[in-house]
């Protein structure tokens, strides 16, 4: 701990010595050029929106495949490529290759990076060997490898500028998420919630890779970088020892709260936003207390790491509803007032609209009507349980206790939405959200902790909601009213990141492998094409040589590839129903391809 602290101090001194770099000014400028796609989510606000409109609702039906690229890797391909000028950067799951393609030279491979990693990291990754993509800043491409190595590659040559180890895979820490470049730092989270890792977000110096600060999700105040007085939750100071007093003994040391989702940034408020994951273990009986700050939205100052505000969505998790999903930042008018909003679609099935400057909770509503574990969030500001979800006893695995199978909980552990990022269009002021429509039985039981070994402690089985056979929906959501505007049923969970465009078209992929284009206003399907494998990647757009392109990675896998590959069963329907639900393996097989679409010339 002390070592961490002194490293943080040194980092702060280095910042002053070097003066404030302007990587984010460069990135903001670049992300305003709609021809490029310079950040994993398109911009700092995580909107996944593009101003390009050559492809529009009237002509998208004529879309054709322009070119394809095989990554040479199988298994789950999450994330998507970056496009900067004539260069495209494509990443892969383990072994985490990166290809730099020159779009002006028939997509020739300019350089390729392939790290040597110990394959023993593969089984430590909870849900396939996914990676959610690279980030750009200061002429470098940043990659968080499976073995937690954060590496900076020269964007022109692929040469390693620096690399640093962000965690210990021997203890179950792995790298799957995408970094975020802010000012003179690159920020990165870490995975390992199923291995009892004490997770954190860490900032490294952009030029040298030297650690600037590290903020854990749980632990003493100095480790979690929370100020008892100045850090607030729902407007009130969090107080001293806000985290450790919500854990029994030293359990916070193996407490999870992992940070494998997406980071966003508001330059005007100078705050970064992200969520923390499930507390370890999945057996709630074994870890009494609220388990702060797992399942929490964090707003932190990227220069110092200090938290400005926090909000715990699911205190004392009983269902594995990680809070890591992306925070989407939008400026909208609410009741005649201009508000700086943060919208977040949580695994727990609730969509939150908050004031991102203050952390005030404005809306918390279910974005799948089947969500049943809670009757809703207490919105009464004078109530002692203000901001807490009311848990129904029938679906409480804590109430049920160890060795008791609690049935019919919606959503399932994979959440109403997982990491697959939603998109926001300022044109329609709607959010386009890929969702899961799956319920579960959940039986917690006692487990013992061994470093580097799974620390799960629950048995679960998943199935579609009773009486239904589709396992996903693609929805349009109004964050001001907390209501679904339209909803498209999908046979399987929608595990692909959405893209909204000024052409009035929204794109997403499906687990069978379809790239789909729908009307942003009505949801009407305008185009679909079946790519070589199931899509869990995020749709991207860019312009090159005067043409607008749509790009997406195919390569079925991830958590979706585990549960759905064999098809789900309905345990309530008895043996007769086995095979009644479709098996994904009947529709698609492993792959690793980038498919790029354009209108015919």
């Amino acid at each position: 701990m002390r070592k961490v602290l002194s490293a943080a101090c040194l980092g702060a001194m280095a910042t002053f010595a070097a003066g404030v770099a302007s990587a984010n000014d460069e990135l903001i400028k670049m992300s305003q050029n709609p021809k490029d796609w310079v950040q994993p989510a398109g911009d700092y606000a995580n909107t996944r929106y593009s101003k390009l409109n050559q492809i529009n609702a009237a002509n998208v039906g004529k879309l054709q495949v322009a070119w394809t690229f095989s990554t040479g890797v199988l298994r789950g391909h999450e994330g998507g490529p970056l496009i900067i000028g004539n260069m495209m950067y494509v990443h892969t799951p383990f072994p985490n290759k990166v290809y730099a393609l020159d779009l002006s030279q028939d997509n020739k491979i300019v350089w390729k990076y392939e790290p040597k990693q110990d394959p023993n990291v593969i089984p430590v990754m909870c849900c396939d060997t996914v990676n959610r993509g690279v980030a750009y800043g200061d002429g470098k491409i940043f990659l968080h490898q499976a073995d937690t190595t954060l590496v900076a590659l020269d964007a022109k040559t692929g040469q390693v500028a620096w690399s640093v180890k962000n965690g210990d895979p021997g203890k179950g820490a792995t790298g799957t998420s995408s970094p975020l470049v802010v000012k003179d730092k690159v920020l990165i989270g870490i995975s390992g919630g199923e291995f009892g890792v004490q997770c954190h977000v860490t900032a490294y110096d952009l030029k040298t890779g030297k650690q600037a600060w590290r903020a854990f999700s749980e632990g003493p105040d100095d480790q979690i970088m929370v100020d008892p007085v100045n850090t607030t939750e729902l407007g009130k100071p969090v107080g001293k020892d806000s985290s450790i007093k919500t854990w029994q003994g030293d359990q916070w040391k193996i407490g999870g709260g992992c940070t494998w989702g997406w980071l966003s940034y508001d330059p005007s408020l100078n705050l970064v936003y992200y969520g923390s994951g499930n507390p370890s273990t999945w057996n709630p009986k074994q870890r009494p207390g609220d388990n702060k700050w797992s399942m929490t939205v964090f707003a932190r100052n990227p220069d110092t790491g200090m938290a400005k505000w926090v909000y715990q969505m699911t205190p004392h998790d009983e269902w594995d509803y990680d809070g890591v999903n992306e925070m989407i930042l939008s400026d909208q008018n609410v009741n005649g007032q201009d508000r700086k909003l943060l919208t977040h679609f949580d695994r727990n099935g609730l969509a939150y609209t908050m004031d991102r400057a203050t952390g005030e909770l404005l809306v918390a509503e279910k974005y799948d009507p089947k969500v049943n574990w809670t009757s809703g969030v207490d919105m009464n500001k004078s109530s002692p349980t203000y901001g807490r979800p009311k848990v129904l006893d029938q679906f409480s695995t804590e109430k049920g206790g160890e060795d008791k199978n609690t049935k019919g909980i919606c959503p399932a552990a994979l959440g109403t939405k997982d990491q697959q990022p939603a998109a926001y269009s300022p044109d329609t002021q709607l959010f386009y959200v890929p969702t899961n429509h799956v319920c579960m039985d959940y039986e917690p039981f006692k487990v013992s902790y061994t470093a580097g070994q799974p620390y799960v402690g629950a048995t679960l089985s998943m199935y579609p909601p009773q009486g239904e056979s589709h396992m996903g929906n693609f929805i349009a959501w109004d964050n001001k009213t907390g209501k679904i505007v339209w909803s498209l049923p999908e046979q399987f969970s929608v595990w692909s990141g959405a893209l909204a465009t000024a052409g009035g078209v929204v794109f997403y992929g499906t687990l069978e492998g379809y790239l789909k284009a729908v009307d942003a206003k009505t949801g009407k399907e305008l185009y679909k094409f079946k790519t070589p494998s199931g899509i869990i990647g995020n749709v991207t757009t860019y312009e090159n040589g005067g043409r607008q392109y749509i790009a997406v990675l195919s390569g079925v896998g991830g958590w979706a590839g585990i549960g759905l590959a064999a098809g789900l069963t309905d345990p309530t329907a008895g043996l007769g129903a086995v095979g009644g639900y479709a098996a994904l393996s009947n529709y698609t097989a492993l792959g690793g391809n980038l498919t790029v679409f354009a209108l015919p010339q």
């Binding site: 072994p95 013992s448 585990i562 590959a565």
Partner: protein
Amino acid sequence: MRKIWLIAATLVLVAPGSVAHAADDPTPVKSEDGKYLDKEGNPTFKVAPDGTVDWYTYSGYRRYHSECHVCHGPDGMGSTYAPALQDSLKTMSYADFMSVVASGRKNVNTAQESVMPAFGDNPNVACYMDDLYIYLRARAYNAVGRVRPAKREDKPEAYTEAEKSCMGAK
């Protein structure tokens, strides 16, 4: 925990690469404290005509869906990257099963990167190897379906004792 690991290690030495018998017969011929054994003396499942399963099959179902299904898929059906154990157990011997679970296995080449970790030191797995084997053997013979067994025999007293000492006092 340590005891179990040693047993597994011994099996590796005694029966390296042993092949399952083509004429494998899972019929239980005797029972020791609620654990059923086939005529070779290997652990096996017992499913009564009314669907009641032995304790080990039920316990194996639970442990499988905690520790194994995150790679091998629900009900031993496999995932996009890990083999379906309901098929593997059709040809894999008890000794091989114990050895792979305890020591792990690697198959890394240009076409695939399959790595099974060693669970010999993980009491959540090591203390329940027979449970897992018996459940998956029942799946391989289609003696239990893809759902949670509805009815089961009681937890044997000797089992409770053994579980306690294996898992430690935690």
